[in-house]
Amino acid sequence: MIAPIKRRLGLSTPLTLSQREALQGFIYISPWIIGFLVFTVGPMIASAYLSLTDYNIVTPPRFAGLSNYEYMFGDRLFWKSIENTLYYTVIFVPIAIAGSLGLALLLNQQIAGRVALRTLYFLPSVTPVVAAAFLWLWIFQPQIGLMNSIISALGFGNGPLWLGHPGSSKPALIIISLWGALGGNTMLIFLAALQGIPKELYESADIDGAGGVGKFRYITVPSISPVILFNTVLGVIGALQMFTLAYVASSGRQQQFSPGGPLNSTLFYVLHLYNSAFDFWEMGYASALAWVFFVIVLAITGFQLWTSRRWVYYEGED
């Protein structure tokens, strides 16, 4: 790269056409390259270094070896946040994937007003998370909220305290997330995939006398399996990053405890990271948490891609 430029500046030989093209290409992508170096590569290296230090922002970082990582393994809140995050991910993602697929199948039928239905299903997912959190906090209000009044009207007695009790706080957050996710991007992607399945496949299955379940199992699922994988991978990455909803839901005025409450039952991984960095200003420890998070996300994503070879069917193979 540099030699041709030098030559050019020295006016020795003009650039060849392909050198000119390469130079221009690099100029056009340079905003991303600069951004990538400054906002991704640099910070990744810096946080690896910071994770080996004691750093409270006021005094300069002090090298501390692996002590942050050692501390992490004894940190009760770290394990609690892992437990909460896995609980949330393992319950939320499968329901969200199955539910979105169900809605997409529904919208793929011949129903009058399909476009209007699609729009209505989608609206919760464009609702700002902060607004959605307050809408639902009000619904989940234990004494006079809509949810518990429906529960008691149906004859189930007093409903749970929802976000006020560690036993019901995570289910409440899962319900809110599902409301926002079921009709969202995942459903749109499934719907597009369903519409892309060739009609002939179903017609020949009809001739073979296949029933609805058989067609779903042997035509629909294999045809859209790459999209199921795509949605699952992104869904898991998103669920592991759960933050805003939990933060807002557990720090509102009605709740008298710190973010992540009650009793740390909604302390998700990123919330723990946030508290460590921006509440306690333990930048070294928080950097260690960030790196471990990166490794966890990478491992879980890699695992999914690895197992996918068994069940994802790509067109044109075999």
């Binding site: 690099f26 390259i33 951004g35 946080s47 129903i111 729009t119 607004a131 807002v248």
Partner: protein
Amino acid sequence: MSVMRGQGMLSELLPAWRVKRIIRYVLLYIVAYGLTIIFALPFLWAVSSSLKPVNELFLWPPQLIPKTWRFENYVEIWHVAPLARFFVNTVFVTVFSVSGRILSAALVAYGFARFRFPFRNFLFLLLLSTLMLPYQVTIIPTFLLFKAFGWLDTYNPLIIPNWFGGGAFAIFLFRQFFLTIPKDLDEAAKIDGANTLWIFIRIILPLSKPVVITMVVIGFLESWNDFFGPLIYLNTPEKYTLSLGLANFQRVVSAGGQATEHLLMAASMVMTLPSILVFILLQRYYIQGVVISSGSK
């Protein structure tokens, strides 16, 4: 006798497969339209609560239709909290973030789509891999960097990074679209002596209106709804965006110990309305973008 004859006629008119089909359709409609109630109920409940006077908030059992309609709540929220200020702040951040994302992502995508250079495929894969990188991984050094720049409590951390490529998703979307534009158009302009930037501005961009609108919608929703960025970088309440202001609404509002849920619901709806409007008006473009990104079309 006659009854039995009637049944026989009915089954002739409606053979079993037709009955099955009708039942199936009725169920389909009940489920499809019944679900809209679940999705819409939180909105309806919020709107209803936002129009109630305080004393009606705590009625048991809760009433969906207010007895007294208190539209003044929607006037009051602008007085009890600097909501107008938050609104203007959010518009400012959103406009400059989205324009930066679109401009820089389009330029970068043009480079990837139309030029051959060493390591192009490797760099593009590297770009795509950042899609899976959670932003929390880099947040602490990035925060420290902006602190060193003296950018804390300014909008720079929320806006400036968007001008450096606009993110993998936006670049990918633009590139996919540019690849569908015939190269003959570029070649013809090149023969006429046009340079590559001219071709980008006069040929590629005008043909890319749909994908630009797609990115306007997606970028708008992301910036408008963003919470983490403002939470970390903004401290002064006058600089808050709507999401941060709303999160602190109950601390900002002094109601003398009175309940403020009706006002909170009103403010939540005010913040939600622009998102809903933008989506409804431009959903065709939004959906196209999401579908392209998943590679399922």
